[in-house]
């Protein structure tokens, strides 16, 4: 199970936070801060696993992260997930973002966090990996965006009416 997925930048600013278990907003922020603290002080060429300790869930949980340019992608997972598998999943996630946003950069994530959520929702659901095939993910995301677009047309016209 994946317990949380966090994206934050090199300064610890959250760009996306998805918790698959409920925490209060304050705890969430604290977790993000501490995770950032743990992850950011690690060198570039050390392993991508971190025993989260008491942060989330306890000893069964690990932080698995990847660092891309200005962003950290952190997955907090328990022992039922394969460590290397999750690393691959992060890669798939980032590549998918790259396809969907066309050369994704931090700004895309900043301004379109809802879209990132929607993409993520096609990959991970309720803490379990739903789909790992990038083409399938993109197809579903596109189909939904298309639907949204057809509706937005109506939405805009109603807006003008108002």
């Amino acid at each position: 199970m994946i317990k949380a997925i966090l994206i934050f930048n090199n300064h610890g600013k959250p760009r996306l936070s998805k918790f698959y278990e409920h925490y209060s907003e304050d705890t969430e922020q604290q977790i993000i801060r501490e995770t950032f603290h743990l992850v950011s002080k690690r060198d570039e060429n050390v392993c991508n696993f971190l025993e989260g300790g008491m942060l989330i869930g306890g000893s069964d949980y690990k932080l698995i992260y990847r660092h891309y340019a200005t962003l950290y992608f952190v997955f907090c997972v328990d022992s039922s997930e394969s460590e290397l598998g999750i690393l691959d999943l992060i890669q798939v996630f980032v590549e998918t973002l790259d396809k969907c946003f066309e050369n994704v950069c931090e700004l895309d994530l900043i301004f379109h966090v809802d879209k990132v959520h929607n993409i993520l929702a096609e990959m991970v659901m309720g803490g379990m990996v739903l789909e790992t095939n990038m083409n399938e993910i993109i197809m579903q995301v596109d189909a939904q965006n298309k639907m949204e677009k057809s509706e937005t047309f109506i939405f805009q016209s109603t807006r003008q009416d108002r």
Partner: protein
């Protein structure tokens, strides 16, 4: 000013969208909080508007703010509004917001049930998808219960996109509503073989997640997973399955044997590191589970270790890390194979990556030996000095202690060295683990008697040295050490060289800055020291010294008497008074030392931490029973406020000086000797060293500790200046000692070899040194921890009682019981229940077997046969059944005989367990198929004797493809039946499952054939024909409605009408509205705010050919008379060209029976009821009833909600209760075709009606 207003209104008109908000926040870096609060105000305004687009936009922004840490739960209701928008765009925004901020205590969640249900059944797959995704984040027990059935239906959706989401979310549903697991499991299992890889992967995912927590319930799926493993190419799925096997193998070693080969193949063939790694992991798990056997066992280990070494040597830090992680698993069972890679692991200790260093540390734990312990610890101590972060340093510290103390200090040869290591560790400031060091000191000092003198000396220096007292006392964890130091000095004060000095050190004013619990120990042990000092001083002629000591105490103690800490204060004032009294006596020249030291006399023995728990509860003692009236709830009893030094606390609570007579002492001594002799952990003297101490017999001797006087007993801080830290000197000394020893041995052994007289040659150093050669420096007498007599041996691994997965520990092989049907508020797809013809199918599952068995053999014969078969095959294989399997079988057998008290039993109760035990034997069969060549022949020989079974076994054993056994014609035997099934797996299993499902639906109504388990008559009776309580409500060319009425046990005035709507046409049916013309007595419950004539919207739409069930609640006042209510269903028929409004009238018939609820009743209570005389009688005679008696009873039970109280031959008493509490008792007698029913009830009108209805039932058949 005017401009501002205009600007404001423009702002309002073009509401900020999410991007504007983000931009705004970025532009207001310096007053972000203020800016956001204005934004929130705007959002609040937007939420007040009616336009859903505006609301959605606002909710979208709130979701962003939630991520920034703002509580947005106040908008929960608006989120629900947005969720319920018909537009996908808004719906998605709403669900996203909900998934981010809803949780179990969000109260509006209960408003969402119907909305979610509607979305789940939406024709647009993305509506459904979005609802499922959202639900997966905020599902609550209520939602899970209400929606379980809808989601289950979606698991068979036509679109794989929906199927995979529905499958995945089931895990969440199971967690929140464990009762749904068993009904849903067959379908979940079916999804393992779904044509779509995504769905398959989801199903594997869910089952793996379930099985990880409760593996034993999923063993029976092993063959299926095995097949998937050998056929799947999806690495994700493979990894999950392989991980799952890792969890299953410990339960079933035979499975492991089967796995080794394919896994080894995978290891050799795969290029994916992730897969390779998981394979290695599972192979390790298999090897752990196989205690012995396996010819190529060591080869597999070698392969694993070799592959892991490659990982560890890889430049990729991730692989290195994982390699070490897996290595530590091998270490537990095969330390030898890991130890050869010590070089590599020590190398990893120097890695720049902390995670890797930590992993390497873990490995070191298992790699130490007597020989290398000192060396390794020395290396670690160097790392301690170098370590930067406190976390890593603390980790090092705990590891050092772990390594040294493991298996009862097994590897420590020189405890002086260990004590000095501990003392050195006290130099670590700011560590959290002061108490760990302290407890080690205490443990060693108490249990290793030989070391006490040395330990006391060291502790005295520690106390004398103020370095522990510096820094912030409350925060600095290291001050805990002074707790141990003070206690050791006090308790073993007889070993102190200069007790007076230590006493003074313990009473320094600075001590008062220590935490309270430490001060308390100081005070208490000062008193002990005082006693010792007095003793030594009273021997002298000069009495002034003793009086001075008392004076010192009297001067210093008041400081502690003023302490804010109660414990300190109390002890200090007690002791102060005592000392004052002593002083008085001293002034009268009375000798007091004896009496004072008597206060602290007595030997302390370490008590095992679990000792208290292990004391068996004496018979007849109920610890849960109240002795007095229970106190008010506000009183909470906190047993122990602080749990540090638990060991010590137990000791303090012991009476310190029990007057024990010599005899008793001798007896105890003897007992302890005995215990130690039998205790494997007790370090006994090795033969060579025993010679040294030959003259001191037995356990009682405290061995002579040869403290080398050349070792300066100095303050650790000072020793640093002398170049070598203290412990190093011991390492050196120890080395010298070992050398000497070796030299001596050599001298003794090899006197012949005179050319080598000088035994100290360097060559000896380099020579190999076996473990056994190293004798401990001093004979350590490690006192074992005491356990109570006849302690319970069970090692209870405490599971977390709050673990949600505990509830999911459900036996999935058991047949579904009626009580497990999914609950009232949900509706379900009812293909199963709609026609009696299909119900019959379900029946055949049960009857199949007897039919196949050529004759009309009785079922019990068949069962015996099967047991016999199984036994025989067991013998053939000469394999011991594994315990848990036996248990499983016992369970199954037990079930057959177990009376169904709940009276919710079903007619097939007797048959079904056989089919499940068949499943178990199926697994057995599959597992035994493992290529074990020696068995083949044996099996073959028996084959001649026992044709059908043996042929199967031999056939299978020869079969190289184990999961696809050959076709044999032995249709009669169970196993062949299963084989056949396997062959046609795809189709038949699905069918079977479907049947099972049907089964479940079919008996969802209460009470069928409960008598079949009464009085052990199960086996004789023929299976019951299928029954359904659903009767036709109305039907036209578009739609068909059937219904059933059930009482609501919780509410005496409510009944629930379940209506199954079946779409019979090719068009889409929507906007169904169900309405009933209320009567005075019975009313349809409508939501609040709707008028008495409004219809109820059916919460779903019906695509062509689909059926679904809705439930309606009615309130009734009087239940003594049957009722009929007229009603109409209106709906829209929609197809491509047109949509038309249609209407269907119906009549709901509330029979008196429908007010009855199956209630079990024991015969004694039943007798009392009849004797009470409150009941009025009536009777009924039925002629020409042509059915077996048990069928008759089953019918009454099923259709009229009765339960059997007792049955004797063809006479039976039955009982039921109405929702308003009327008792209805029946006595049913049958002779030939005549059945007479005598009935009693406290409501005669009702009784009459019920009897009429019973008559009606039987006249129909």
């Amino acid at each position: 000013m005017a401009l501002k207003i205009v600007k404001g209104s423009i702002d309002r008109m073009f509401d900020k969208n999410l991007q504007d908000l983000v931009r705004g926040i970025r532009n207001h870096k310096e007053d972000e909080a203020k800016y956001i609060s204005t934004c929130i105000d705007e959002i609040k305004q937007e939420l007040k508007q009616d336009n859903i687009a505006v609301k959605a936009n606002a909710v979208c922004k709130l979701t962003y703010l939630q991520m920034l840490g703002y509580d947005v739960s106040w908008a929960a209701f608006n989120i629900v509004e947005v969720m319920s928008s018909s537009k996908f765009t808004y719906k998605r925004i709403g669900y996203l917001a909900a998934s981010q901020c809803f949780h179990e205590s969000t109260d509006v969640i209960m408003l969402t049930t119907n909305q979610i249900r509607k979305d789940l059944s939406s024709p647009n797959q993305y509506d459904t998808g979005v609802a499922l995704t959202g639900l997966s984040c905020f599902v609550t027990p209520d939602l899970a219960r209400d929606l379980a059935n809808d989601i289950m239906t979606l698991m068979s959706h036509t679109k794989p996109y929906i199927r995979k989401k529905a499958v995945l979310i089931m895990y969440k549903v199971f967690l929140k509503y464990p009762e749904s697991l068993r009904p849903a499991f067959p379908r979940l299992k079916e999804k393992l073989e779904d044509p779509d890889p995504g769905v398959q992967s989801a199903a594997v995912n869910v089952i793996c997640e379930l099985a990880r927590r409760n593996p034993k319930n999923y063993l029976s799926l092993a063959p299926l997973f095995f097949k998937l493993m050998t056929s799947s190419t999806n690495n994700w799925v493979l990894i999950k399955i392989i991980k799952l096997f890792g969890a299953l193998t410990p339960l079933e070693p035979r499975l492991g044997k089967k796995l080794i080969e394919p896994l080894t193949n995978l290891i050799h063939s795969t290029s994916a590191m992730s897969l390779l790694y998981e394979c290695v992991n599972t192979v390790i798990a298999v090897l752990i589970s196989l205690s012995s056997g396996m010819p190529n066992h060591s080869a597999s280990i070698q392969l694993c270790v070799q592959k892991l070494r490659i990982l560890i040597e890889d430049s990729d830090q991730n692989l290195k890390y994982l390699g070490l992680l897996a290595m530590s698993k091998i270490l537990k069972t095969h330390p030898k194979s890991v130890q050869s890679h010590k070089d590599l692991i020590l190398q990893c200790l120097d890695d720049k990556d902390e995670s890797i260093r930590l992993r390497a540390l873990d490995l070191l734990y298992g790699m130490v030996s007597k020989k290398n312990l000192m060396e390794i610890v020395k290396k670690l101590m160097l790392h301690v000095d170098k370590a930067e972060g406190t976390t890593y340093r603390d980790e090092l510290l705990t590891k050092i202690i772990d390594i040294c103390s493991q298996s009862n200090y097994q590897y420590i040869t020189n405890f002086e060295w260990y004590i000095s290591i501990l003392v050195e560790l006290t130099r670590l400031e700011g560590t959290r683990h002061g108490h760990l060091i302290a407890s080690q000191m205490l443990d060693v000092a108490i249990r290793v008697k030989a070391i006490r003198a040395f330990a006391v000396a060291q502790m005295a220096t520690l106390l004398d040295n103020a370095h522990l007292l510096t820094g912030n006392m409350q925060r600095n964890g290291i001050c805990e050490v002074s707790y141990a130091a003070a206690w050791i000095c006090g308790e073993f004060s007889e070993h102190l060289e200069n007790p007076m000095q230590t006493l003074e050190a313990m009473l320094r004013p600075k001590v008062a800055t220590l935490p309270g619990h430490i001060q308390a120990v100081y005070v208490q042990n000062a008193a002990k020291l005082f006693a010792t000092v007095l003793k030594s001083q009273e021997g002298n002629t000069d009495s002034t010294a003793a009086q001075e000591t008392s004076q010192l105490m009297i001067e210093r103690l008041p400081l502690f008497v003023q302490s804010a800490n109660l414990e300190v204060q109390e002890r200090a004032s007690c002791i102060l008074q005592l000392v004052k009294y002593i002083q008085k006596l001293q002034q009268k020249d009375v000798e007091v030392a004896e009496e004072v030291s008597a206060l602290f006399a007595g030997e302390l023995n370490p008590v095992a931490p679990k000792a208290q728990k292990k004391v068996p509860v004496p018979e007849g003692l109920d610890l849960d029973a109240w002795i007095n009236e229970p106190p008010s709830e506000s009183e909470s009893e906190d047993e122990q406020p602080k749990a540090i030094f638990t060991k010590e606390e137990t000791k303090h609570s012991r009476p310190r000086h029990i007057e024990v007579d010599e005899k008793e002492l001798a007896r105890r001594r003897e007992a302890r000797k005995q215990e130690q002799a039998n205790n494997p952990f007790y370090i006994k003297a090795s033969p060579s060293s025993q010679k040294v101490y030959q003259d001191t017999p037995g356990v009682e001797h405290i061995p002579v500790v040869q403290i080398d006087l050349s070792v300066p007993l100095k303050v650790p801080g000072e020793t640093q200046h002398q170049g070598l830290p203290m412990s190093d000197q011991y390492v050196k000394l120890e080395e010298e000692r070992r050398q000497k020893e070796r030299a001596e041995k050599k001298k003794k052994e090899k006197k012949k070899r005179k050319e080598k007289r000088s035994g100290r040659g360097k060559k000896h150093d380099s020579g190999p040194e076996s473990e056994e050669d190293i004798t401990p420096a001093h004979m350590v007498d490690i006192v074992t921890e005491e356990m109570p007599e006849n302690a319970l041996p069970s090692d209870d691994d405490d599971k977390d009682p709050n673990d949600p997965h505990k509830a999911l520990d459900i036996d999935l092989d058991k047949p579904l019981a009626d009580s497990e049907k999914l609950p009232v508020r949900s509706h379900r797809a009812v293909e199963a229940a709609k026609s009696p013809g299909e119900d019959g199918d379900a029946e055949t599952v049960a009857t199949q077997q007897p039919k196949k068995k050529s004759g009309k053999d009785k079922r019990d014969d068949k069962k015996k046969d099967k047991d016999k078969e199984r036994k025989k095959s067991k013998d053939e294989k000469k394999k011991k059944k594994h315990k848990h399997e036996e248990k499983e079988e016992d369970l199954l057998r037990g079930e057959v005989h177990e009376p169904v008290v709940q009276s919710e039993g079903i007619s097939q109760v007797a048959e079904l367990p056989t089919s499940t035990s068949a499943e178990v034997s199926d697994l057995d069969f599959w597992l035994s198929n493992a290529p074990v060549p020696s068995n083949t022949q044996e099996a073959a020989t028996v084959a001649a004797a026992e044709a059908p079974v043996a042929e199967v076994v031999s056939g299978a054993a020869q079969d190289s493809e184990p999961d696809e056994p050959k076709d044999t014609e032995m249709e009669e035997t169970k196993s062949s039946k299963h084989k056949k099934k396997k062959q046609k797996k795809e189709k038949e299993e699905k069918e079977k499952k479907k049947k099972k499902r049907h089964h479940h639906h079919h008996r969802h109504s209460d009470g069928g054939g409960e008598e079949s388990v009464q009085n052990g008559t199960v086996e004789e009776e023929e299976p019951l024909p299928s029954m359904s309580n659903y009767c036709l409500l109305a039907e036209n060319s578009y739609i068909k409605m059937v219904y059933d009425i059930q009482g609501n046990l919780q509410d005496g005035s409510q009944v629930v009408v379940s209506v199954i709507f079946e779409n019979k046409c090719d068009s889409f049916l929507k906007s169904m509205e169900f309405n009933v013309l209320d009567s005075l007595n019975s009313k349809l419950q409508r939501p609040e705010g709707s008028g008495p004539h409004d219809g109820l919207t059916v919460p779903f739409q019906l695509p062509p050919g689909v059926s679904n069930e809705a439930r309606f609640v009615f309130t009734v006042q009087s239940i003594v008379m049957p009722q009929k209510l007229k009603g109409t269903l209106t709906f829209i028929v929609k197809n491509e060209e047109s949509s038309t409004h249609e209407k269907l009238d119906f009549k709901l018939h509330f029979t008196c029976t429908s007010y009855l609820i199956t209630t079990p009743c024991y015969s004694d209570a039943y007798a009392k009821l009849l004797e009470s005389g409150d009941l009025k009688g009536s009777s009924l005679k039925l002629e020409g009833v042509n059915m077996p008696f048990h069928h008759l009873l089953a019918r009454i039970c099923f259709h009229h909600h009765f339960s059997v109280v007792e049955r004797i031959d063809s006479c039976s008493s039955m009982y039921s209760r109405s929702i308003q509490g009327h008792h209805v008792c029946l006595l049913v007698k049958s002779s030939g075709q005549t059945v007479s029913i005598d009935a009693k009830c406290d409501e005669p009108t009702m009784l009459g009606n019920v009897l009429d209805e019973i008559k009606q039932t039987f006249s129909q058949c």
